[in-house]
């Protein structure tokens, strides 16, 4: 499937255009969001705010967008359907006690501490698999759903780490994708 057949969130579309245009200054600006609470790095606003949902105001969703944008600045490798961060980690064959501890920390995180744990996780992925990709569209959706009472995101990530060989049943999870209306096609 080519990328022109993929409909993805406009924020992700914007971020991937920065890579395509080799806009290193923009990526550096995004990295200023790392280690700071979402929304407190003004450098991110030009890249993120225009994609805030129009109809409803959702602080949770906006924070998720800031987090994703900052992480993208650190590891700007998006590909649709590439999988979750845990799937990428699994593919890097980094099984060890310390990796396992990191995985457990992410799963135990709440929405407030999640950005910090993800930053450490992405640093690990970047250092061992700089050419790997992950699906930032799914990541945005998953971070937004992190507090779902069912904890379906955590289950999904846990499956990607411990039970990656088990196929996911159809309709087992909510449909992934942007939770607001706007989507755009990502050019090749």
């Amino acid at each position: 499937m080519t990328d022109t057949q993929t409909r993805t969130h406009p924020l992700i579309g914007h971020l991937t255009r920065l890579v395509a245009e080799d806009d290193r200054a923009a990526l550096a600006a995004l990295r200023r969001g790392l280690g700071r609470p979402p929304g407190e790095a003004p450098e991110l606003y030009p890249h993120v705010a225009k994609y805030f949902p129009q109809e409803t105001s959702s602080r949770n969703y906006e924070n998720a967008m800031f987090t994703v944008a900052a992480l993208f600045g650190m590891f700007p490798n998006h590909r649709a359907e590439a999988g979750t961060p845990f799937k990428v980690l699994r593919l890097l064959d980094l099984e060890s006690d310390s990796t396992e501890r990191r995985v457990l920390s992410v799963l135990n995180a709440d929405t407030e501490t999640l950005p910090t744990h993800l930053r450490h996780l992405f640093a690990l992925i970047r250092s061992h698999g700089p050419d790997r990709h992950l699906d930032y569209g799914d990541l945005l959706f998953h971070i937004n759903q992190w507090d779902h009472p069912d904890r379906w995101v955590q289950r999904r990530w846990a499956r990607d780490w411990w039970a990656w060989s088990v196929p996911i049943e159809p309709d087992a999870e909510p449909a992934t994708g942007p939770s607001d209306s706007a989507t755009e096609e990502v050019p090749d």
Partner: protein, 534 residues
């Protein structure tokens, strides 16, 4: 005051359901109206089966047959009993059906046959359902100290049940005919059909294999046989003697108001039900060592899981393929189905067999004790085709094995989840803790009951044309329910990281355990889809 009388021929005592509501019928009315009656309206499974067996005995004797499947089919075609033979029969033996007859009270021994020092026992002893001594139940609070009044109709039903359901309590009492084992009956769409469907070829000979002398069989009221207390087993004369065996010797006692308030109660005529083919309404399972034991209810295991014994192909009995011996009354039903098919070729007006149900009745005794844990009545659809079609029975067996294999995979997954949850560092968890955690997952409850519903559909829809497709659909359901049962159980374990890890470890085990079943399923799917495409 005149001596009381309650004659079963005229007095209503058999609870039935009709299209106009529930009522009680006398013997005379029951046989005259059996075609109008939907069925018994008896909540106690023990009484249900006991009354049914009593009525079957009367039916055989009144008809003095049926002597062949063809004769059975002719009876069936009539759609109702001819009242004449029944009227003759009950008129002939009416004097033996009075509950309070001073010399020969129905199903009892007269007072003169008890020791003068024999103590009165509470009526609750007649019914395992009622609280008495060692068998407390949830449904009755009758105590041994309180006086219980029961009606003559109730007493009649309880007497019949007590003849079949009494535990050997060590010492002088032996188990009665039905108490340890599962007994079966088939149900039709009216009481006429139900009675007929459970009849067998009968020519007055013994058909229990003990003797082959003609015209020897008779129920006790016809022979005047004494109700002796025998510790040693007495073989029955034949079918109707066996169906009406009096396992206990009872005499009902009345108070000054002629109410039944107590009884004298002693052992009756002993019989070892566990021997092979002791009862045409028992099924036998082949154990691992090759021995045969009558089927009985097992805690936590519904009847349908062992239904392949019910449909055991007759010619496989005794072979390496056999799982047991099906009830021999089903052999008669098979013969009847063949006779019907033959008749249908010649007569368009042949009334077909309706959708049948097979019912199982019995108690689950407390382990090692003369007490009831619970009593059960279960039912399954009974497609007659299964009695005649070996391929369908083989399909049934494959289906049941598939479910048992899936259950084993589920249990392994649950055990893995439990172990992962309880593992601290390198230390293995205590196996009792694992077992405890596993039982909290309630995997059996999540898996078997919803699957039973699907099994009824599978059985009802199974026929010679569609068995592969039905089997594929069954496999699909089993796999789906297995995964759902695991998911549901895993969801309640917890949602912190450690619990999630344990759930995923269990999921991996489940996936591995189901791999072969998944392959069977996929192969069956390809076969069915290929078949449909062609």
């Amino acid at each position: 005051m005149a001596h009381p009388t309650f004659n079963l021929v005229e007095e209503p005592w058999i609870p039935v359901a009709t299209k106009n509501g529930n009522t009680e019928l006398s013997l005379r009315d029951l046989f005259a109206r059996a075609h109008e009656v939907k069925g018994f309206n008896e909540p106690s499974p023990l009484t249900y089966v006991s009354v049914a067996r009593f009525l079957l005995a009367i039916t055989h004797r009144a008809l003095n047959g049926p002597e062949s499947p063809d004769e059975w089919v002719e009876l069936w075609q009539k759609g109702r009993f001819d009242p004449a033979p029944f009227e003759d029969y009950v008129a002939t033996w009416r004097h033996r059906f009075d509950l309070f007859d001073p010399e020969k009270p129905f199903a009892q021994a007269p007072l003169s046959e008890f020791s003068p020092t024999e103590k009165t026992k509470p009526l609750s002893k007649l019914a395992l359902e009622l609280a008495s001594g060692t068998n407390p139940t949830l449904f009755d609070h009758t105590s041994d100290d309180g006086e219980v009044f029961i009606s003559p109709a109730e007493a009649t039903r309880m007497l019949l049940a007590a003849m079949n359901y009494g535990f050997g309590e060590g010492g002088i009492y032996r188990d009665t005919t039905l108490v340890r084992f599962m007994s079966f009956l088939v149900e039709g769409e009216s009481l006429f059909e139900t009675l007929l469907l459970n009849l067998q070829t009968y020519v007055g000979k013994s058909i229990l294999g003990a003797r082959a002398l003609p015209n020897l069989d008779a129920p006790w009221w016809e022979t005047d046989a004494p109700l002796t207390e025998t510790k040693d087993e007495t073989l029955p004369l034949g079918l109707t003697d066996h169906l009406t065996r009096r396992g206990r010797k009872v005499h009902l006692q009345l108070n000054d108001n002629q109410q039944i308030v107590g009884m004298l109660y002693r052992p009756g005529i002993a019989f070892d039900s566990s021997r092979e083919r002791s009862d045409p309404f028992f099924a036998w399972r082949t154990s691992k060592d090759g021995s045969l034991t009558p089927m009985r209810f097992r805690l936590g295991r519904a009847l349908w899981r062992d239904s392949e014994v019910l449909f055991q192909w007759k010619s496989d009995e005794g072979s390496g393929n056999a799982v047991g011996i099906r009830p021999s009354f089903l052999d008669h039903l098979e013969e009847v189905a063949i006779a019907m098919a033959d008749r249908l070729e010649l007569h368009d007006d042949t009334k077909p067999l309706p959708h049948l149900k097979i019912m199982a009745f019995g108690v689950l005794p407390k382990s090692g004790r003369a007490a009831v844990d619970l009593w059960r009545m279960e039912q399954l659809p009974l497609p007659v085709a299964l009695l005649r079609n070996r391929e369908l029975v083989a399909t049934l067996r494959v289906a049941l094995e598939f479910a048992e294999d899936a259950a084993r995979a589920l249990k392994s997954a649950g055990r893995r989840l439990a172990m992962s949850l309880l593992t601290e560092g390198d230390r293995s968890p205590d196996k009792n803790d694992v077992a405890n955690q596993l039982s909290q997952l309630r995997l059996d409850e999540r898996f078997w009951p919803p699957l039973e519903l699907q099994f009824h559909r599978f059985l009802t829809d199974l026929d010679g044309q569609n068995r592969e497709e039905r089997l594929f659909m069954w496999m699909d359901e089993v796999l789906r329910l297995t995964k759902r049962a695991y998911d549901d159980a895993a969801h309640v374990v917890g949602v912190d990281a450690r619990s999630l890890k344990a759930q995923m470890m269990g999921l991996r085990t489940l996936h591995r355990g189901l791999k072969e079943l998944q392959e069977q399923h996929d192969q069956k799917k390809a076969y069915v889809e290929g078949d449909i495409a062609s």
